[in-house]
Amino acid sequence: MAAQQQLGREHQGITLRGSAELVAEFFSYGINSILYQRGIYPPDTFTRVQKYGITLLVTTDPELANYLNNVTEQMKEWLYKCIVQRLVVVISSIESGEVLERWQFDIECDKTAKDDNGPREKSQKAIQDEIRSVIRQITATVTFLPLLESACAFDLLIYTDKDLAVPEKWEESGPQFIANSEEVRLRSFTTTIHKVNTTVAYKKDSVP
């Protein structure tokens, strides 16, 4: 079934379900990259995998991997229904609870894809190239993002449509903005059904 879907993606273009899978997968690897690059978890708990033609780091910690899997599965569903608008990774200091960094992934969903059944024309390779550029940019942000001095924890926020029933294990929350922030826009990628824009906001250093 999965193989069939894969074939479908390569030869027949992008379907809504295929697009949802691609974007959810990207989020999974993107979040792993952020956790590794920002040092939220010890680097030796990450292992290298080949994806999108580059080497990516994913966590080997079973609890964390499980947690991220849950999120990815849920995101897949919501992306398929086109009811999710944004995914935010919030990095805050454990001691003070202050939000230090905020990675925001805006999702624009083309709702007409739900209605027409024909797949869209865009090669798998082109999408992979775009995703690769975004992930490389995430890696490269370490050159300008301020150092995270203290131990930090992360939080995942998902902006959904108002009338969505809150599933089990999820609860409502605030946006957790950063008080005095600097924002940088990274590249975006699109599968022609879903478009993902990435921005990172970080706390402006008090010392210039």
Binding site: L57, Y67, D155, T160
Partner: protein
């Protein structure tokens, strides 16, 4: 009046954070005690000891609070008769606003409503009415205690204490000479120095190239770009040391004759600045900002003989292997490509190896002089690792974390070692023993990041150019006089054997 009392009560309830002292134990607590070490330890164990104090703190903290809610929710499921709210995850401000809002007179005009809505969208980044924000509860977060954030360790690394084992040779910690390099461009991606086999050190300072004669100490200005905005982006000596190839920001590759101090050729084929050059007898390879590598045959008029397209971003590292069979290239796209010297079947050049493990730009690329097919590469700020590869098998033989941006790697011909140049925070040169990958020495002195390294023709001295506008010459591979004599004897013995066989 009653509405104020109601409000005050509400505030009181909402602000109650500490557990009520001397109160009878809650039903869930009693039930937990009865059932023994059943549900409560399950709820308690994910929590770290530190978090327990949070439940009684005044400031609601978000991360541990949720595990608190998990504890409370489990017993309620068991007891099933009370809703116990979790104050720290509730949005007090939002709740208060929404509650008190109802008491305001609904006299707003439609335009005012629109205005407020627009402000709300601007402030929150989304329409509060239309969107819900969800957060996954039950996080397994928080790396083990005692884990210090890697970045802090990385950037505050102090000088490592000297190795306990005494070095077998004396490596001077001060440079032999310090030369001034004013106006040197502080750009990681350029390759601005090279040392010729005739003992001339070529240095590109913005739009001019100077030659420094190591033996005599003489300085000659070889060339200066005509256009003021154009700068030199790379320099490379031909093996014989009589011609110098110069790459410019205007995408030209120029060939200069040192003897006559004249420009012999101006080869244009690139569309963007040429950041790196490498010679393989009469073939000059150039890497540009577009990610393309061009081969130029400098003997013929139609110099552009091949194009290698393997990088999507600037090519910053380029080195032909010493036997001329492979060309290694590193780019800003974090890839390392190893190209063969001859084209494949389709007339196209395809890399025999592509290494994607580096997480940063690969500028440091160097071939091992005593072992065939061994390549060393170093990554930029995002990566900071040095990797040794076998290009035939594609295996990564070893990796070491250098804790700092790697700008250049040079192998020593005198010792089984290699030297790497670094940036923030110590701007040091590190000598590594191969293949054990242990640090032999660290050479400090530069006050800003090192940009390039090059080696003298006799292999004893390494020159480093840094953003602090100095060139420092380090005599780190000095041969022991006794060992030197042995080496010379070995070389002469070899030549006599050759003479014998010719006869």
């Amino acid at each position: 009046m009653a509405q104020f009392l109601f409000e005050a009560d509400l505030h009181g309830l909402l602000k109650l954070d500490t557990p009520i002292p001397n109160a009878p134990p809650a039903r869930w607590q009693r039930k937990a005690k009865e059932s023994g070490p059943g549900p409560s330890p399950v709820g308690v164990s994910p929590m770290k000891p530190a978090n327990r104090s949070y439940s009684s703190s005044k400031t609601p903290s978000k991360t541990p609070g949720k595990s608190g809610s998990k504890i409370q929710s489990t017993p309620t499921k068991a007891g099933g008769d009370r809703y116990i709210p979790n104050r720290s995850t509730m949005q007090m401000d939002m709740a208060n606003f929404l509650l008190t809002k109802e008491n305001d007179p609904a006299e707003e005009s439609p335009t005012k409503k629109e205005q407020q809505k627009a402000w709300a969208v601007n402030l929150n980044g989304f329409d509060v009415e239309e969107t819900k924000i969800l957060r996954l509860s039950g996080k397994p977060q928080n790396a083990p205690e005692g884990y210090q954030n890697n970045l802090k360790v990385l950037y505050s690394q102090k000088m490592t204490p000297g190795s306990s084992r005494k070095n077998s040779r004396y490596i001077p910690s001060m440079p032999d000479r310090i030369l001034d390099a004013p106006e040197i461009r502080n750009d990681y991606y350029l390759n601005l120095i090279d040392w010729s086999s005739q003992n001339f050190l070529a240095v590109a300072l913005d739009n001019s190239v100077y030659l420094w004669n190591h033996a005599s100490g003489e300085i000659i200005q070889l060339l200066q770009m005509e256009h003021p905005d154009v700068y030199i982006s790379s320099v490379s000596w031909i093996k014989e040391g009589n011609y110098l190839a110069v790459g410019t920001s205007s995408a030209e590759v120029q060939l200069w004759d040192i003897q006559q101090q004249k420009r012999l050729r101006n080869m244009t084929s690139h569309c963007a600045r040429v950041g790196t050059l490498s010679w393989n007898s009469y073939i000059l390879s150039s890497g540009a900002r577009t990610g393309h590598i061009h081969h130029h045959d400098v003997r013929v008029a139609e110099h552009h003989v091949a194009t290698l397209a393997g990088h999507t971003q600037e090519v910053c590292g380029l080195k032909w292997s010493l036997d001329g069979r492979y060309l290694a290239s590193g780019g800003n796209d974090n890839l390392v490509n190893v190209w063969p010297c001859t084209q494949g079947g389709g007339g196209d050049f395809a890399p025999v190896q592509t290494f994607t493990q580096h997480q940063g730009a690969v500028k440091a690329v160097a071939w091992c002089p005593w072992q065939m097919n061994v390549l060393a590469t170093g990554g930029g700020t995002s990566d900071r690792h040095i990797r040794i590869w076998n290009v035939c098998s594609g295996a990564c033989l070893s990796t070491v974390d250098a804790h700092s941006q790697v700008c250049s790697i040079l192998w020593s011909t005198n010792y089984k070692e290699f030297i790497s140049g670094h940036g923030f925070a110590q701007n040091q040169l590190v000598l590594w023993k191969y293949p054990t990958m242990t640090k032999v020495a660290e050479l400090q002195g530069h006050t800003a990041r090192i940009l390039n390294l090059t080696m003298s023709p006799d292999g004893t001295t390494v020159a480093s150019a840094a953003a602090d506008e100095t060139l420092r010459l380090w005599r780190c591979f000095e041969m022991d006089p006794i060992k030197k004599k042995e080496k010379e004897k070995a070389n002469s013995a070899k030549s006599s054997i050759i003479h014998q066989s010719i006869r």
